[in-house]
Amino acid sequence: MAGVGGAETPGRKAGWTVLNIVVVIYALLPVLWILSLSFKTPATLGDGNLIPREWTLENYAAIFSTTEFTRALVNSIGIALIATAIAVVLGTMAAYAIARLEFPGKRLLVGVSLLIAMFPQVSLVSPLFEIERTLGLFDTWAGLILPYITFSLPLAIYTLSAFFREIPWELEKAAKMDGATPGQAFAKVIAPLAAPGVFTTAILVFIFCWNDFLFAISLTSTENSRTVPVALQFFTGDSQFEDPTGSISAAAVVITIPIIVFVLFFQRRIVSGLTSGAVKG
């Protein structure tokens, strides 16, 4: 694992530790800064200290007291969950076919997925805006869920087909030999093996939907479907008659929590999901 010349001398260890510290600071600094701003009182916002001098929860109280934020949070969660569920189901079907079946047009499908993964999303903003206005989908949940499914499908198909190739499918046959029905063989043998891959893919797709800003800002216009990243742009700090820095920081921290949870609990899965799809794809 440690490759060539990986002798564990104290000096080397110290060197690695320093490098690790650099990486940790690099990755966490912006996050800690926004966290620190969210706990500061309006008077101390501008003091430039990383550790707030006066701690307060009033920024959090302020955002949860208005529908502006709570409604956007509900939209964000609902839209991301629905889009993730649909994308994972459709992606699982397609990935199973790609990993296990022979049929003409398979390579074409993989090619189309690859093209969509590279597609400049902004190119769709003008036509989708017009199409969705015509169909009555503009500023609705469905109007955002559709593009989210589309753009997360390539990711889902690549990741899942990489996972499905790793599954020892002979076990299904073996289970049938031992007298299991096809249904039992699937439920007892295959499903538990496939579940981790499906779950990992769901996390990646959810992160993608949760993150989107371009579609969310172009295809919504009111609280009906505005998601949190867009709502942040419209914060005027109606609870404070000054700049909305505190409210924005607090809201930013709230929508970062799920991401931090995913990363802390499932980092190994996320890494394997991201890399397997990209390299073996």
Partner: protein, 307 residues
């Protein structure tokens, strides 16, 4: 592109089992394929159609077919070219720096004697965090008063109010966010390098740098190509960071920001769609050039980059 696996010189008639397998394959793929084509293929064609029209939602009764007039308008416009070159600059600089940093980070994640799990975990945070959130953090960091970085590096100025400063900060925000992703892809490439090969090179007297350039890089070529291609196309779409950091003021708009502004603020569907089509063409060209330059090692190629 038809599957090459059906080249059976034996009986023409395919067995029942094969037929059933085909049907199942098509059935399983159909929903995903339909959604992808319906939401991308049809709108992009519609965008081409709209781009040939004068279509301003403020004056809907003046809608008419104008041929290539919109393209002339956009391509002779200073704002378009400014945005185009800003996009190219951000793309080239950020991808180049990311590649170097990402390679370093990949080596750390691959090789570290201590804290490997910790480094992998924290480096996923920039990847996963909402871009808008990170952009706000950078904005406050570089704004006098609220900013630790502004106070540190530019005590008496506001870097986000001049063009060079803004562009540098946009690039910094892009690099911070996407270096970990680049590093993960490169790390997967590093895992493909056989240890024996490195040991053999060391025996032959190759130093660490030579081992890296002569052994690792050639084996990693496919992974490097995938990482560079995806990040280049991704960087070309830069939008979130610019909107939050500068809203495109001081000529810092990228093509995406400009197209968005024309559509939502200007409500000019004709011009907005023209820009959509032009951006689509630009991205297609970049992808084409990549594949041409690197040939067989392109994504989808089966070349495992053996030296």
């Amino acid at each position: 592109m038809v599957s090459t696996k059906d080249a059976l010189p034996v009986a023409k008639a395919i067995s029942e089992g094969k037929k059933a397998e085909r049907r199942l394959g098509w059935l399983l793929c159909a929903p995903a394929a339909l959604v992808m084509v319906a939401v991308t293929g049809w709108p992009i064609l519609y965008a081409v159609w709209l781009s040939f029209q004068r279509f301003d939602l403020k004056y809907p009764d003046q809608r008419e077919f104008v041929g290539l007039e919109n393209y002339v308008t956009v391509l002779t416009n200073g704002y378009w070219w400014s945005a185009f070159w800003v996009t190219v600059l951000i793309t080239v600089v950020s991808v180049a720096i990311e590649f170097v940093l990402g390679m370093g980070l990949a080596l750390i994640m691959h090789r570290a004697l201590v804290g490997r799990g910790l480094v992998r975990t924290v480096s996923l945070i920039p990847y996963g965090i909402v871009t808008v959130v990170a952009a706000f953090s950078w904005r406050y960091a570089w704004t006098p008063d609220t900013g630790y970085l502004a106070n540190l590096f530019a005590p008496d100025s506001a870097p986000l109010t001049d063009r060079a400063g803004s562009l540098a900060i946009i690039i910094l925000a892009e690099i911070w966010k996407t270096t970990p992703f680049m590093a993960l892809l490169l790390m997967a490439g590093l895992a493909l390098v056989p240890d024996d090969l490195l040991k053999a090179a060391a025996m032959d007297g190759a130093g660490p740098w030579q081992r890296f350039v002569k052994v690792m890089l050639p084996v990693m070529k496919p992974a490097i190509l995938v990482a560079l291609l995806f990040r280049t196309l991704d960087a070309f779409r830069v939008f979130d960071n610019i909107v939050v950091l500068t809203s495109g003021s001081q000529d810092t708009s990228s093509v995406s920001v400009l197209a968005y502004n024309n559509l939502i603020k200007g409500l000019n569907l004709g011009i907005g769609s023209t820009m959509s089509v032009l951006i689509f063409i630009a991205v297609a060209l970049i992808a084409f050039l990549f594949v041409k330059l690197f040939g067989a090692a392109a994504p989808g190629g089966d070349d495992k980059g053996r030296p």
